[in-house]
């Protein structure tokens, strides 16, 4: 099988994640879309590792996972804090600095 298929799948998943970030208004769903984009990048790393026959891609994917876990913890804490003060998880509501 042509190994490009893996990279194309990663590209499609990344695009769907970017679409979610652009279109959805709920902060948690936007955050999930970011997670999906990170997963797509991981798939590209693992596929590249498979194509080149070296394990460096898998090591990179491992580090991406660690960074993603740290990012999720802090991001969700920020969402919880914003929800506590504004009683809303919509990204449109947090426009206090605008006015």
């Amino acid at each position: 099988m042509n190994p490009n298929n893996y990279l194309v799948l990663a590209g499609i998943l990344f695009t769907i994640g970017a679409f979610g970030v652009l279109v959805r208004r709920n902060a948690i769903i936007v955050f999930m879309s970011v997670e999906l984009m990170l997963n797509a990048a991981n798939l590209a790393f693992v596929a590249a590792s498979h194509i080149t026959g070296t394990l460096d891609g898998q090591a990179a994917a491992f580090f991406v996972m660690v960074v993603a876990a740290a990012e999720v913890v802090v991001g969700l804490a920020i969402i919880v804090v914003i929800f506590r003060t504004r009683r809303s998880a919509s990204i449109d509501e947090a426009s206090l600095l605008k006015y």
């Binding site: 590209g11 090591a59 996972m65």
Partner: protein
Amino acid sequence: MTGEAIVFWITAILSVFGAVGMVISRKAVHSALWVAFTMINLAILYFSLGGAFLGTTQIVVYTGAVMMLFLFVLMIVGVDSSDSLIETIKGQRIVGTILALAFGALLTSAITSTGFKTATGLSEVNGAEGGNIQALAQLIFGRYLLAFEVTSALLITAALGAMVLAHNERWAPRKTQAQLQRERTLGGHPTPLPSPGVMALNNSVDTPALLPDGSISQESLPRIFQSTGQPDHDSNNEVTS
């Protein structure tokens, strides 16, 4: 068709299906479950690509820890936090769709024109060290040792940051028993609140109690149902005589 191709096509279709479901489902809980589904499919792909360690980590870290953290936060933030359908920026939905389609087309055409025709495969590298985990450990604790150590600082910072952000300072002093009792007896409702489902057709917790005149008693419901409007008051309480 090789086994690898069969695994790829099944998991590819299912993972794209899950990703689309995540974007289009109205409720955030459904989105979380769709993402977990996509991540499990990606884990299967990692296994078929010779990354047994990464596949296992994907299931444990992403579907096990990250998505469950998402679900916990959804419980805090409220399951009712579905999207508002009002566009604050005019035409954002259409422009976003067009941009996403263009970006996807650009990525796909760029990838297909690069032309990796054959894959070397990892069986040789994995076999040299006696397995995928051993070979990956050689890399992480060898060439990437510095990055691995810096990662630990990142994780500690993230844990501390989450604790500082989510910490709830107590502004008012804790109420004493005497104060609580005074509030309860003088607060207008000395008896316990009516329990849900009294005199109604069924007694589940989301069914409000019926008052003697047949109207529903809002205070019999848990507060979460009042804010979400979850239970269908009318259908549960229609008395069929």
